[in-house]
Symmetry: D4
Subunit: 254 residues, 8 copies
């Protein structure tokens, strides 16, 4: 029942064409969906212009192309994550002029990215093997409108590399910090600068890393305040959250 239907019903009540009892029944009989007009719009529309997102694993390229098509109707852009070569080819074939492939990030964007919202995100990663997850975060933040800088390969074992970059770290509105193995990097970074840290554990490691569990637990137990965590290898989630919070931030004074 959209507004017009509701208005018509009320007018029929007013005009006496529909009794109060019948109107009450009609309202009661309506499924929730049609009462959706009562759902308040979020007044700032935080994610306005953000692309829709499709997580690829477990779906066939054919299914994904169909899903992308149905989402294109209502969105400026659609992001597909965890793509592989075959899927990327299928999307580029379906959208020859609109699909942008980010192979290192395993992301394909169909359509246009969001307009820059002014927030600045820095993506920090510990090792070369963490790069795909870091890139997934970086590309996600970019296509949702954030400005992104990358600071890669600054592991805890060589902490001086990190300290060289203090000013750059401090200049960001939010930091996405990606690390596998012991996952100590977010704690160290959060101890150095006063910037919110979104920590991403990766499955990089072996043995007692238990596919990222060690890094995940380490990050959840960070003794530095100002650290939150997403799922193992969830570069997308971190980049998205970072873009979402920085989109609302005040520009920094020069």
């Amino acid at each position: 029942m959209d507004r017009e239907a509701a208005r018509a019903l009320l007018e029929d009540v007013r005009s006496g064409q529909v009794t109060v009892g019948v109107a009450l029944e009609r309202l009661k009989a309506l499924p929730f969906e049609d009462l959706g007009f009562a759902r308040p719009d979020t007044h700032r529309a935080l994610r306005k212009g953000f692309p829709e997102v499709v997580y690829a694993p477990g779906k066939t390229p054919v299914q994904i192309v169909q899903i992308v098509k149905s989402l294109r109707a209502g969105a400026q852009g659609v992001v597909v994550t965890r793509t592989d070569e075959e899927l990327s080819a299928a999307l580029q074939a379906a959208y020859p002029s609109e699909a942008t492939d980010f192979p290192e990030a395993r992301v394909v964007l169909v359509g246009a990215p969001a307009k820059p919202h002014g927030g600045q995100v820095m993506v920090v990663s510990a090792g070369t093997s963490d790069l795909p997850v870091a890139e997934e975060a970086a590309v996600t933040a970019e296509v949702t409108g954030a400005g992104v800088e990358r600071l890669y390969d600054v592991g805890v074992a060589g902490i001086h590399r990190l300290t060289e970059e203090l000013e750059n770290l401090a200049a960001a509105d939010a930091l996405v910090v990606v690390a596998g193995m012991e996952g100590a990097l977010p704690s160290v970074v959060a101890g150095l600068v006063d910037v919110p840290v979104i920590a991403v554990p990766t499955s990089v490691g072996y043995g007692a890393s238990f596919d990222g569990l060690a890094a995940l637990l380490g990050m959840l137990n960070s003794c530095a305040p100002g650290v939150v965590v997403v799922n193992i290898d969830n570069g997308f989630g971190a980049g998205y959250f970072a873009s979402l919070v920085t989109a609302q931030m005040k520009p920094q004074p020069a």
Copy 2:
């Protein structure tokens, strides 16, 4: 070496009282600490005025009072978390006019809270048993300068209670969502409104909740973008992060 010491050394160089070689050696011999002045200030001083924090468990009341004393030197306020009655009494005895007890939150603030920074945080919780963790988050956000609203007892099992509050949820700059048992509330909330969600799993539950593990895993696997997670029962961490990110946010248009 504080600024004055550095300035004095440089002036001695300038005046010729100290040779360049000697000055160089003095600089080299200094431990890192004394070179701290070279650490770039984060230009927005995000956490400026935030109280210092002391996590109480594992420490005796005597130790904690000492730690608070040493921290009072450089901070407007000191927050002690996970307090109990004995510790609260000890702090109130040591700081009769300055200690504020928040017993439901198990928090004591010694000194003044941060000035309001304008950010608005809503703390949402699923059940009555989650209240101490929710209050820890709420009080933490308050004493670090956020405006806080509370929306308690809105579990997933009665989702209509949540839908009644959509406008209030959507009006917040950030949401802290606290839940034990299956931990589904943050996903549901993030699916309803476009506001960043900081999810706090609690150890409320029994059996296969495994002291909060079920809720933690549920939140980490949230299929709704815009959700990040902190440690089990870490109300402090969530309230702190929420306050930190909302401190920088633009006021919402009326």
Copy 3:
């Protein structure tokens, strides 16, 4: 907005006291809750007359009495689970004539149970130590209207005890089977009779039972079809589900 409020609004529209536009705005401005009347009644009202439920742990007796009071408004009865002596006394003090204590089940019922719905549930348990959980299931099924039989202490190690009861088992509409340690009893029962089995793992055991994990995993992996599982020690959940499904079942031919 309850039905009367909605009816009043519609009548005001009809009488012209309220314009259609204003009525539309009032509807839009209402929180979802007040639109609850549009929520379709499930036409069989499965749980009609079922008591409301309060899970006690993590709440103080004072909190629980308050919660019970607020729930009494809309319910014939309120069940409090996982009670202890102190809480039972508090509820009996608050409701001297209405509180019924089931100490073995750790359940207190305030108010009246549901009317018998005709479904027959048998609660089977493996050992003496499983009795509190089994009783929680049995009492829950009873106060929600099921007829309940109990068959206790029929562990897998003495399977002939079970085979003696085949006719009784087969006569039930649903079986709640409670077991700790290795949790094999539900599989064995489901292999003997053609009745749906709701399996309840208990935390009875030691060592590698890991507080009920062994029994839980055993039941989830049951090779007998017709078995479903609830949380460790969740006698309430099993009794409730058993009552819910048997409430709708056809009476058995004599």
Copy 4:
């Protein structure tokens, strides 16, 4: 020893052709199997006409065809689950006119399905990747006689899709709710309608989903009463249980 054999023996005793001593020995010497007539028939024969079931993994196509053959003797139909293309081909070659392939469900039915028993099951799933498990549940319920409706792709992140379908959900006799990742959907559904929910966690997800563990734990800890759980990815078990309980239910009043 079927009834006839027992009767014959007793008549031989009566006629004096067999002494009491010999008869006693014959009874004693009989394995339990032959005493099966003492096993009470379940008087409603709940699963009467249900197909026999073969779980394929770990068995070769040759073994499975042999097992199916031996089961065909006593059953109207045989269901093989978790099939792949090779196995499906083998079964279709062995039973060219009797094998029905349900490739999405990874199920092959050899022979006839059960007659419709009147129960109505709705299978609800959260995401596209959960489809094979959801289909396994749906096809299992169908071939065992239930009427089945499907409601797919109604994840928690877009809860309004679910609320649109409230009437359909409420019209079912039982719901099978399939979800991976955080596994919150069954709790949400059980909070919306008064219908028994059989929850199926799937291994869909990555990282801290730990191959379905997160969803499993979430469902076991559901705070909504009326939810039971089966093993990860066990669509068959859920569909079977749903069919079993709804087979006995009273038809709903129109």
Copy 5:
């Protein structure tokens, strides 16, 4: 239905006092239990004279005394395990002349132990803290008829203590080897002598012993053949099994 009852029924059939039809019904109507005579006696009656066993935790002293009473009817002795002082006192009060307390083993025997069966068991333990579990094994083996020797405090860290006892170890018919922490002792013992080893992990340890999990896993992964394992702290189970297998063994040649 014991043999005599069956014989009587058959004779009534023979004499014509009972018709075949009625006899058939009586047989059919009998629960399985009464048909127990068809259950073949194990011809060696391995456990003949073994006491019945009651596991105390989770049961009240009153319950246990009742259970012991009901078991005394059919058994020469009843063993209660995991007793504490209160329970021991209750049993000694109930059976002043028949209860034997083994406080180190946390075992009370009511009645007589089994007659010696000739098997020889040696119980080996690693450390002083493992003593209660080792004694539970030793006393269990003794009251079920085995001859028992004890070799305590021979941890892996001082392997020469073990090698001093090689002849004694080799002289046993079976070894029960009890160890906590890393649980290496059974592997070492099984590598030294050709005697079957029943390994008992204990919960002795801290940190990454995870309440005996480390020892349990170590023993399950023993690279020495001839090792089997029981539950953590299950001295009873090991002593029982050791007594059971050695009861059948040939006496060793002198």
Copy 6:
């Protein structure tokens, strides 16, 4: 230092050719190995004639053939477990007349099996998929001298199949019971007959079987006394232990 060397040294002492001091030093200087004669022979030589064992995984066929060669020197037979086709071919090529392949058991025997020792082992398994592990146990028991009967496909879900075989079960000296999924079969068997049970969990299953963990935990928590457990899929260990204990058992009276 074998006996002869020791004797020679002592005679040299006696004859005065070697001083006491020198003899003492020679003894001290000897490595432990040469003092091996002091290691007491186990007087019954339990494992006399048992083949040596090689666990294949992680070793190349070339390595395994070499290991077999070195072991053949001192053993009548060598058993290689967890073989595959390639390894079996390599062993048969290296030992064309001596290698016996048991492909279902994934075992190759090079040389002769042990002489029959008279013990009788029955191997019981729950499902078709457990067959390789059951065969590994059966073949291991056979080549180490036990008489072996097989009782396969008697799962808990159809417990009457098991009860038909009570006499055969009771006639064995030891039972190896193999089961995956919930692992309930050993408990059930041990509750039916008085024979020692060696339980083998298998990795058969999916989801919450966690590769055999569910079955392992179930078996460790068996409430039936007389059950011991080996590692997941360790058919070899169970068959070996069963053969070892039954080798010493008295023949059963006819």
Copy 7:
């Protein structure tokens, strides 16, 4: 058989009082223990003068005093770890002049510490709550002869505190680094200085620290080479190992 006994036997052989045959039998009959003289002394006697060690938990004060007495025979000192007040009092009562209590470390030394061996160990800890474990390590290293410095409260969250101490860290022969929560400190320290790091995870933390598991996994996955790990809370083991390796180290050039 100590050296003197062996010498006496050989002399008896030499003098003819004992025949070669008898001497050989005596040697053969001796248990391994008496042949212990053949065990080669480690030529540097690394642990010479190290006290013997008794781990207190699970033992009564009476048992411990007895164990200490038996160990005092052969050792200059005996260290008892994980003491509490009651045990400390018992030891001080038993050894009024010889027992030294280190209450913060929960250690009592009976007798004299080892002589200083010249090695220098620095014990670094992250937080106040880690102090008991750090002190256990420090006191252990001291009583086994190491020189010990303490650097406490230098958590990762305030990494500049650590960098101030670089010279002191670098001056140690070995570092024991103690941390709970995320356990990142050892990685950070090992990345700053070229000194071997022995990492000690503590059970300090809550929620997803899982009693030290998070810290343990973090340390095992350290990406900095030069880090080894001991059990959770095992300050003793770390202090002992540190003392053991530094005892052999060359003095550092001034």
Copy 8:
């Protein structure tokens, strides 16, 4: 700011070309990196001459060759670990005269090993399948300057093989002990000789070894003092640590 830059600045201050205020600002504005000269050199340069290390998994051969190139600038040698044939070929193609392949250890050294530092390491392993990890440890110790002996295939099940080698074990400065399955070998070795033991759990095993978890837990819980642990399969870490500590040890007296 390298030394020269700092010197130049100070000279400018001295000469008056730069004011003290400006100099102070320039120092403050410098990132930490340029202040690196204040980092104290570790005076013994423990790892001087040690090769740089690259962990190969998760990186492409092209990436690794690039990383090696960049590291060659500042290091005598570069070690690449966990190589495979393809990577080894790529490194040998890039460095035809400088790359040394250790295929059993899965290690390639580019450039020269460290000069021998005099420390002696013995690598002990339990089984043939542990060989790659043992070789990784041995080669790592060798290329970092240690003398290495290998003692392979001395499992706990045949402990006499180990006792034969007591003198060789005791002669080492440090032992690396590698074992999978139950991981008991390090405890046994540490109980026999007074040499520091670095334990390496391997993922060798199956079932309840859980990919090395059993061995890891066993080693962490070693009851023998003097044992430390590294990650599962981390031969590199153990070899590196062993080389690092023995590099500083005093030569043993002959």
